[in-house]
């Protein structure tokens, strides 16, 4: 009896210890986020009088308005969405097409092509920055959003081809043969059979690529110059310069910039985590 109760007690202590440790860790991780939320709600006078690191004394929502309209966050967010949404759709569509062809048909050099496409995505972007900026000048799209959309699609597609290829290869060949027997062409096989079966991977990759493209800084500042064209991540750096030491506005801007990806994460958490693991080559 007493051995039993010791075991119970030990188990309870272990549970308490676990929650204490994990809870403290989570709190430590969430603290910077809480801090930026609180800062975004403080008034400038409060920060000026008591210091950035003090307890808040007065709250206001006007920082968000200031970052949103005067700071140009509204326009930047629209730019971001104009870039991100077509990029996600087109990249995944192109990648699904290529993955379908490479995984379901005996194309010549298909493995070499697959690795070539993946290899392009693994290149350090630095080697591409100068030529890409010159290329977009030559094509007359420098400092326009289509240039950013183009480079994001071109650079991203290889990775998704590789992941979707792995996924589509696992679909049994008999399903496709049955469709061929019924007279289905490649388009019907792709659209009616393979694509619906790939939906989980596509969902995972959409959540993932949305955040990647939305959060990008480097490509944006490489092919864009005007402040009015910048997507939100690059605009945040502009905000930092515009509102030096007005931490309430900068914090509000950061919250605005992070909100869309946090929303995507909270809505599609499972897809998101699945996506990260899909990408890991074993």
């Amino acid at each position: 009896m007493s051995a039993n109760s010791t075991a119970v007690r030990r188990k309870r202590a272990a549970t308490a210890g676990f929650h204490l440790g994990a809870g403290a860790l989570s709190l430590l991780w969430l603290l910077p986020i809480l801090l930026v939320l609180v800062t975004s709600l403080r008034s400038f006078d409060d920060i000026a009088a008591h210091g950035l690191g003090s307890w808040p004394h007065s709250f206001t929502l006007s920082n968000f308005g200031q970052a949103w309209s005067d700071g140009g966050q509204q326009r930047a967010l629209i730019n971001s969405l104009i870039v991100t949404i077509p990029c996600v759709i087109v990249t995944l569509a192109l990648a699904a097409m290529a993955a379908f062809a490479l995984s379901r048909y005996e194309l010549p050099f298909r493995r070499a092509l697959l690795l070539l496409m993946l290899g392009g995505n693994l290149l350090p972007p630095q080697i591409l920055l100068i030529p890409v900026s010159k290329l977009s000048e030559m094509m007359g799209v420098y400092d326009t959003l289509p240039a950013l959309i183009g480079v994001q699609i071109g650079f991203g597609v290889g990775f998704y081809v590789f992941v979707l290829h792995g996924f589509m290869r696992a679909i049994p060949v008999e399903i496709q043969q049955a469709a061929v027997v019924d007279g289905a062409g490649p388009w019907q096989i792709f659209w009616r059979i393979i694509l619906p079966l790939t939906r989980p991977a596509l969902a995972a990759l959409s959540a993932l690529s949305f955040t990647w493209i939305f959060n990008d800084l480097l490509w944006a500042i490489t092919v864009l110059r005007s402040d009015t064209k910048m997507p939100i991540t690059a605009a945040l750096i502009g905000l930092q310069g515009q509102y030096v030491s007005m931490w309430n506005v900068i914090a509000a801007g950061s919250v605005i910039a992070a909100a869309p990806t946090v929303a995507v994460f909270l809505c599609f958490q499972r897809h998101f985590v699945a996506g990260l693991n899909l990408g890991a080559v074993k």
Partner: protein, 311 residues
């Protein structure tokens, strides 16, 4: 009846179709060919062609306006005597070791802690993972506020009696690089944790049972069961970390621009400022080639693994 007759009607047509497939598998439907060629074209325009140009530009002197002037390996010779390059390379290696090492170790530790399916564990995992979805720029701004002279970090140090440690963390040459690594770590650990969580999930529980029966301690079980079983995940984490480290740019750029006095300069930031601020496009390309060479081994090993998987 229709179901029965339909295959009958089609069966004569099926035989040649199958025969064709077996005979000439090289004859692919044009649509399928287009499916590969269109994405390949997109990647060629924006990646392969620019990459080739990048390698060529590394052998030139170019201001971006006049025609590039071929100078052979002079850019690389210049690097040998460029102090900023040398310190940037050193910082990049330090970044790789500190940022890479700590994110791997702490990510694995977090995964080990949070691998058990208990009540509330989903919340803890989400908390650690949340920063992964922030852009590095937003992350940087959050931490920049923390690091300010009147910011929270200095206040806390003061409150716990360590006031003498108060610092202008980002403005001090001795602390700037480390102050930049911390936010990057804050964001990376959750990502590594997710990779390890998936790896730990894949380990057969019977192995632990067997080790327990054999009287293995918790440490022995970790050392002789968990670690060997995680070998493939470790390889993934290693490549992810090295590729991410060499790409690290956003967080440094938004916190310090590589300063003060290049004390937090990485090869990636030095390359960017050389190319787009000093407009020395040839030398900038040469710096990019150095980054490529450093990443090359990892890219190759990643591709080799991918090749095996595609088999």
């Amino acid at each position: 009846m229709a179901v029965l007759t339909a295959p009958d009607r089609k069966s004569p047509a099926r035989t040649p179709a199958v025969g064709k497939r077996a005979r000439g598998s090289r004859r692919t439907p044009p649509l399928v060919l287009a499916f590969v060629l269109v994405p390949l074209l997109a990647e060629s325009v924006w990646v392969f062609w620019p990459a080739l140009q990048g390698f060529y530009l590394a052998l030139t002197k170019w201001d971006g306006v006049s025609t590039p002037q071929f100078i052979g390996l002079d850019n690389f010779r210049e690097m040998a005597s460029d102090d900023i390059f040398r310190s940037a390379a050193g910082h990049t290696v330090l970044w790789l070791v500190v940022f890479g090492g700590l994110s791997a170790v702490l990510g694995l530790a977090a995964a080990l802690l949070l691998q058990q399916e208990r009540r509330g564990v989903g919340f803890y995992r989400a908390a650690l993972f949340l920063p992964v979805v922030f852009s590095l720029v937003a992350t940087a701004l959050v931490w920049q506020a923390i690091y300010q002279p009147d910011g929270v970090l200095n206040r806390v140090l003061d409150a716990v009696g360590l006031g003498s440690l108060q610092h202008a963390w980002l403005a001090d040459q001795d602390t700037a690089l480390y102050a930049v690594i911390v936010p990057a770590l804050w964001r990376q650990i959750g990502y590594v944790m997710v990779l390890y969580l998936a790896g730990l999930k894949g380990i057969d529980p019977a192995l632990y049972e067997a080790a327990k029966v054999d009287g293995a301690s918790a440490w022995q079980r970790f050392r002789h069961v968990t670690l060997p079983q995680l070998r493939s995940v470790n390889a993934v984490v290693l490549s992810v970390i090295i590729i991410d480290s060499l790409r690290s740019f956003d967080v440094v750029w938004s916190l310090t621009r590589g300063g003060p006095y290049h004390s937090s300069e990485l090869l990636s930031t030095y390359m960017y400022s050389t190319a787009f601020q000093s407009l020395r496009l040839g030398y900038g390309s040469a710096l990019a080639v150095v980054i490529f060479v450093l990443a090359f081994g990892v890219i190759c090993s990643y591709l080799v693994r991918a090749f095996r998987e595609a088999d």
